[in-house]
Symmetry: C2
Subunit: 412 residues, 2 copies
């Protein structure tokens, strides 16, 4: 029974994680949150108390830490007695935080693949470049590390596992579809930090087909999806973390990721990228000032956290999984629909942060209960999805299934 | 007979002015060019010699000067013995250079309205805010100052005067149309310094109709124009210098300016402006760096002077002037067509710089000959257009007229 959670990061997703941990602090024990700027952590804790989110009286403290400094993170883990670390800081700190967990024996959870700030948009095998190199060490030391336990990657990996286990003898394809049919009312905004958000679309689109890696350009391959609740939506093939781990675990299946984009988003993105304004490489102004264009674009765009109060509409994220059962073709769509305004009312965040922040808390609860306390490194599809769905149903992200023309709860 | 020319500025238009002065140095005498960076002036002189552009052996020297420092400009005028100053520096230096001319008695020529860098996109009466305040002083001292003697403003003002004098008893409207049907082959670029170029379209569009100033938003009013050589082209009402002086000189006429834009240009412009990336106001990056977004956009866009070698196609700039003659409605279109590639072959610049840089040299030749040595301040429509057209015909920008279904040279 692991207890006491340290949250790393103080952005929009950390806000959701904090609220959800508070709502379950009877199981999770003491809560701590740390980022470079302690004031941001304090603001999140204040919002937790404002909503009276703590289920039982307990500790929720703020700390300042440089998460790039593994020794400092390890010291903080020891200081606060954390047995579970939920890392929702920037993608640059995964390895230092993971090292601190291996050092201290704390369980590690993250929601996105590690990135080296100097080597963005790397070629596959992604997880194999960083995290998986520590797998043997985790096993050897009995350290639980759950990689990519947000929504996508995370819940969608569990959706794939569930569809394959329950509905087919063999899997032939997994298509993950992520649609945000919400509206923030601004001319243009990104739902996450623009520096991270745009990167997903500036590189090559890698996908797994015919048991090999293939490449496309962003926005080269688009198709309309007819989806529950949000209706027909256009999505484009993109690179995404879970394509890699699912391709490694189900190499016989084609694995593709599809992200929904409106024409307006694509137009703005295309203009900015074509002009070089999404570049990470500094340019020099006529006055001699060195500036990274992407950082200026970030500065003029709305702060993603400012979008929450006016965000309306819903998200739909799911897996269309195809295979064969008893010699016949089968297909199943496993999905969740979340509502922006409901998320804001509950935890003060928009739906995109909500879907990313709720699942790692479910994972923490499963580590606390022992169900997912694997004592080694796992991607989500390597763990039993059913207790995960059971908790997600209870804490705000119910799983539904479309199969043979009927739409039901996953456990109906 | 004034002689000896000092060119202020060393950008794309200055390059054209330098070549055209060199081609006429038998009349113009010694030539000098000055800007903040002497090396830029030297590069222009080198390009003049490379093309063997000097008509007769003579002086062409480079100088460094801060054109915002009127006393320094006056000292340079005296030092080099210039009797004619062609100011093609930034729009910010008009008043200091004009003051230096008034101080020294040199004739002054410019091609664009003065701008205060702190007060961009001012409301009408434009020329009345700065230049015209010096009109009495010019008259009193006998100083010739020709304002806005580029193509537009400049030649188009002469087109209007010519059309009115030759074709009608009374004028009812003057519509100036500026179409660049050329292609630079880049995703996006501005033909002038982006900082100056975008400003023309970020403010309110002022125009003169029904004997009063009216206002529109940029891109609010567009129409297709069927034009000689370049065919049907869409142009949008914009603010422009000559609208003011023509409205003051022909208050009974409606005066509008139309600038041609393709859909792609408008789209890129709209995205950049909507995001706040064309702002002159500094923003602060997450790292705390203060940056003016427009300066970053300028840094990522192609240098306008780099466009010249690959620029193809033509420009068409003209005036559609309507009025009444002998009790009947008449209309006439006076225009010029210029070719980008021909301009580059002759002077190493693209057509936009060529059309802007040739006319002030024609004006200098008319001051040298005495025809336009007015001894006071004049806008171009206040001067006899015929000797201007005669010189422009000879030095590269012939004037043509469409009237009653026929298309002829202006003096046919």
């Amino acid at each position: 029974m692991k207890r006491n959670v340290l949250i790393i990061g103080a952005g929009g997703v950390a806000q959701v994680v904090a609220h959800k941990c508070a709502q379950n602090n009877d199981t999770l024990g003491d809560l701590h949150i740390a980022s470079r700027t302690r004031a941001k952590c304090e603001a999140i804790i204040a919002s937790v108390h404002e909503k009276s989110a703590m289920k039982v009286d307990g500790v929720f403290d703020a700390h300042a830490v440089d998460a790039m400094d593994s020794a400092a993170v390890a010291a903080l883990i020891r200081q606060v007695g954390a047995e579970i670390v939920i890392n929702v800081g920037t993608a640059f700190v995964n390895m230092t935080v993971l090292d601190a967990c291996i050092e201290t024996g704390a369980a590690y959870i993250d929601t996105a693949i590690h990135e080296d700030p100097e080597k963005i948009c790397e070629t596959p095998p992604w997880y194999g470049n960083y995290e998986w190199k520590k797998r043997d060490l985790c096993a050897q030391k009995g350290v639980t590390a759950i990689l990519g336990a947000g929504f996508d990657p995370g819940v969608v990996n569990a959706f794939a596992r569930f569809a394959i286990d329950e509905y087919m003898d063999e899997v032939t394809s997994i298509d993950i579809v992520d649609i945000n049919a919400g509206s923030h009312g601004k001319y243009f905004a990104t739902n996450f930090d623009p520096e991270i958000n745009f990167r997903e679309f500036t590189g090559t689109v890698y996908y797994w087909e015919d048991q090999q890696w293939k490449e496309k350009k962003m926005f080269e391959s688009g198709r309309d999806w007819d989806l529950p609740v949000v209706g027909t939506q256009r999505a484009y093939q993109s690179g995404h973390d879970e394509v890699h781990s699912l391709a490694a675990n189900y190499p016989q299946a084609d694995v593709r990721f599809w992200m929904g984009f409106g024409e307006h988003y694509i137009n703005v993105f295309t203009v900015l990228q074509s002009l070089g304004l999404l570049s990470e490489q500094p340019v020099k102004t006529a006055e001699g000032l060195e500036v990274v264009p992407l950082k200026v674009v970030k500065a003029v765009l709305p702060d993603p956290s400012s979008l929450a109060p006016d965000y309306t509409g819903k998200t739909c994220i799911g897996d269309l999984v195809k295979g064969r059962k008893d010699g016949k073709d089968v297909e199943v769509f496993v999905y969740n629909v979340a509502d922006h305004a409901e998320a804001y009312a509950e935890v003060g965040s928009q739906g995109i942060s909500y879907t990313a922040g709720v699942p790692p808390v479910a994972a923490a609860l499963l580590i606390a209960s022992g169900d997912w306390d694997a004592g080694t490194m796992k991607n989500v599809e390597e763990l039993n999805p059913k207790p995960f769905f059971t908790i997600l149903d209870r804490i705000g992200l119910p799983t539904r299934v479309e199969f043979n023309g009927t739409d039901t709860a996953w456990n109906a």
